[in-house]
């Protein structure tokens, strides 16, 4: 899923202009002016029609939770007026954002929609374990596969009781070469008997404690080759792919290779 945030005056109408021009399934997320909390006892309520259309309302969801749940199902997500997200972001006027600014315009009406369509197609995709599993299942070789094994690497806050707590990791990668290396490892693993598809993805930038860092997904005929291959996949990724990790704990900041 390619996700783009738009912040500033006129963000919501701009999302609505962009959505119908995209080629694929699109989810839009717009801010609510007030709480959507309802006086009911269920945590979430859905209405589902026989034609597949639905409405939903619920409690306790963050933008990250929502994007994670959309990632396997939609080609695009357009998010209006959430400035705290680290998504690639279009700014209108003086709006500020925590994300990378990919396009800035003074007035939403003057935004070049054709340019924005190219930008949303070019952003780094929003990848989750679910979106990789969905891609593996849609492989043309999936009918030969009875097993999916996955590995998720995440930020560990502490390794022992008296460890100083890790607050965040920051990853830097050798753009282009890292992807080529991951592709090469995946192709080599796919050449094994019974292995139908191997997908891997490593996030970069700042990743906070508890968040996911890296995923490896293996689609295979049977569980034995699925388990073996997912282990070899993450081991080779960690040994061979040019990605570098800086760790920030409550006490200090250091490059992890200096402590290995």
């Amino acid at each position: 899923m390619n996700a783009l945030a738009i912040v500033g005056p006129g963000a919501t109408p701009l999302v609505e202009r962009l959505a119908p021009r995209l080629d694929g399934t699109v989810a839009t997320v717009e801010p609510l002016p007030e709480t959507a909390s309802r006086d009911v006892s269920a945590t979430a309520s859905y209405g589902l029609s026989e034609d597949g259309s639905w409405i939903g309302a619920g409690e306790d969801r963050t933008l990250t939770d929502l994007l994670d749940s959309l990632s396997a199902r939609y080609d695009y997500a357009l998010v209006a007026d959430y400035s705290r997200t680290r998504l690639p972001t279009v700014t209108v006027g003086d709006a500020e954002t925590a994300g990378d600014v990919v396009y800035a315009v003074d007035d939403a009406d003057a935004a070049d929609v054709d340019a924005l369509l190219d930008i949303v197609d070019a952003v780094d995709p929003y990848v989750t374990l679910d979106s990789l599993v969905a891609r593996a299942k849609s492989s043309p070789r999936a009918d030969r596969a009875g097993a999916i094994a996955t590995f998720t690497g995440r930020v560990r806050a502490r390794d022992a009781e008296d460890d100083s707590r890790t607050v965040r990791l920051e990853f830097e990668k050798y753009e282009g070469v890292a992807e080529e290396k991951m592709d090469a490892i995946s192709r080599e693993l796919e050449a094994r008997d019974g292995v139908q598809k191997v997908l891997m993805y490593h996030r970069t930038g700042v990743i906070e404690d508890g968040e996911d860092i890296v995923f490896v997904v293996v689609l295979a005929g049977h569980r034995a080759e699925a388990f073996r291959t997912v282990e070899d996949g993450i081991d080779r990724l960690k040994d061979e792919v040019p990605i570098f990790k800086k760790e920030t704990t409550v006490d200090e900041e250091f490059w992890v290779h200096d402590r290995a």
Binding site: G153, F171, E172, K173, Y174, G176, V177, A178, E180, K181, H202, I213, V214, I234, L237, K238, D239, E240, V241, P242, I243, F244, K245, K246, W255, V256, H257, D258, A260
Partner: protein
């Protein structure tokens, strides 16, 4: 010739992409010498006491480790991209 630097090497040099001048037909080793002359603060990090490349420092030419070619003797071609980095630590 352009070098890409990563992690603490980029921090030490104060930049992620740096250019150095080398003669035509220069080798990767010549480009490394030119880099270390321009950024002497990198030397301790990259070379050991005998002046050889430290074992854990990686030198890539166009995405391939030069160990797989002629090492630092590998001849450069116009437009090559060189990269220098410490041990990888993804995941």
């Amino acid at each position: 010739m352009d070098w890409k630097l990563f992690a603490d090497l980029a921090e030490t040099a104060g930049g992620r992409e740096v250019s150095v001048d080398v003669e035509p037909d220069a080798t990767v080793g010549d480009a490394l010498d030119a880099l270390l002359s321009a950024y002497p603060e990198l030397e301790d990090r990259v070379l050991d006491e005998s002046g050889s490349l430290r074992d854990h420092i990686n030198v890539l030419r166009n995405g391939e480790n030069v160990h797989n070619a002629a090492g630092l003797e590998t001849t450069l071609e116009a437009g090559d991209e060189l990269a220098l980095f410490p041990p990888v630590s993804g995941g």
